[in-house]
Symmetry: C2
Subunit: 260 residues, 2 copies
């Protein structure tokens, strides 16, 4: 069954835990943001004066690389910063009173974690690295203070927060397992593409169990759906490496979930 899969091996454009590649986002310096950073647009669009830029950079702390399984923050930790993922993948989750883990989301390079902590004084969830991860942390009090001086930054913060509100559509609706999985793949594909990675080939940093948990499916169902997609020629998959062979049909499947 996996005979042709060997074509995938060694050609993935994403790093994996075993053979980490240099992240393409490694281009931040004193006057420029990392190109994949969620704040880079706020920066360029507004044409800030250098003093503001430097001020913004002063509150940034580059953290990592952290090995897989490292917690960036835990539920209940005092909220003080938000973080932009620079390389790798971060999973957020909560543990309910029965001890069951509940996956809330996966965060790729350029995406921001910790936003949901803003409403309280503590993080409402856990964030753990799924592979080797580097992040930039921004002190939120300082960020909010600076946002009062820089209208563009405030707008950007409002935008980031507001965008997150609609993010849960994938997981919220009552869709079939196939639709959910298709939407999940399309989402990953687009998000990778937006940051300059391949949209058709990438590594699923998360386990099948994590995917299942996130999509509110049983792990067995995820397995079966993926097998079906392979049989139908939609994807090729080997372990965690996946190639979208028929993006059009996958998007068609995901259409109603992503409401397009």
């Amino acid at each position: 069954m996996m005979g042709r899969m060997s074509a995938l091996t060694g050609t993935m454009q994403q790093h994996s835990t075993s053979t980490p590649l240099a992240p393409i986002a490694d281009d931040g310096d004193a006057l420029h943001f990392c190109s994949t950073c969620a704040f880079s647009s706020a920066c360029r669009e507004e044409g800030y004066d250098k003093s503001a830029l430097i001020e913004l950079h002063c509150m940034v702390e580059h953290v990592g690389p952290m090995p897989a399984g490292t917690h960036v923050f835990r539920e209940g930790d005092p909220f003080q910063a938000i973080s932009a993922v620079r390389a790798g993948c971060v999973k957020t989750y909560v543990v309910d009173n029965d001890g069951h883990e509940q996956v809330l989301g996966f965060f790729l390079p350029g995406e921001v974690i910790g936003l949901s902590g803003i409403s309280g004084e503590r993080y409402p969830c856990n964030a753990v690295t799924l592979d080797t991860v580097t992040v930039c942390t921004f002190s939120f009090p300082k960020l909010a203070m600076l946002a009062r001086k820089l209208p563009g930054l405030q707008t950007q913060l409002f935008r980031l927060l507001s965008q997150d509100i609609g993010k849960t559509a994938l997981v919220a609706g009552d869709f079939s397992a196939d639709q959910r999985m298709a939407a999940f793949l399309v989402s990953l594909s687009r998000r990778y593409a937006a940051r300059g990675f391949s949209s058709s080939r990438f590594v699923l940093s998360m386990s099948r169990t994590d995917i299942a948990n996130y999509l509110r499916l049983a792990a067995e169902t995820v397995s079966r759906v993926l097998r079906r997609m392979v049989e139908d020629g939609l994807i090729v998959i080997d372990r965690r490496e996946i190639e979208l062979r028929d993006p059009k049909r996958i998007e068609q499947l995901a259409r109603s979930v992503l409401r397009e």
Copy 2:
């Protein structure tokens, strides 16, 4: 079956479409916010000087009363304001490409609608009144500008946005129909209580179909679940008027949904 229900009639503390009562929130003036308003806390906590208060009030426009079925805004309308509900109930929804309505939420007095529009320049959903509704609208550009001068207002806005992120837990998880319904009732109960209404008796302004749509259940299932709850002595219900007879057990049912 509905024999004892007559005890409920005429004693509801909430208004209904047929017999509207005066909303308790009708207390806004030039220097004080409506007591149920989501912004009132930002106001009191910070002890603003009067000029700031007046400035804030200048951008507020009281709208209504609007009859049931009135659209406050529609998907695609240019985003320019957020609104706090003063009296009545507002439903937000989208229509997918197959023409199916998708209910996103219900907003009670004191709650804010339109926040999800901030990330774009147009509203991403529709908002329609379910009964006689009055709202206060805040011009968002002006609000954002003022927020730069008033730290407390900025914090309040961040908080409002951030809170909305976690709101979808009820609808997101894979819970049983009974758990969902219980959580829905608990949510309504608490939100009414927070604004000074009765927590055990209120009117369901929305139809069974709307509830079902919101909870991702079939209307038939909602009907069956409610009947079961009546049989079990959890609630008493007559049309849209409901009384929580055993809040403890209802909260127990909702426990895992609300993760407590």
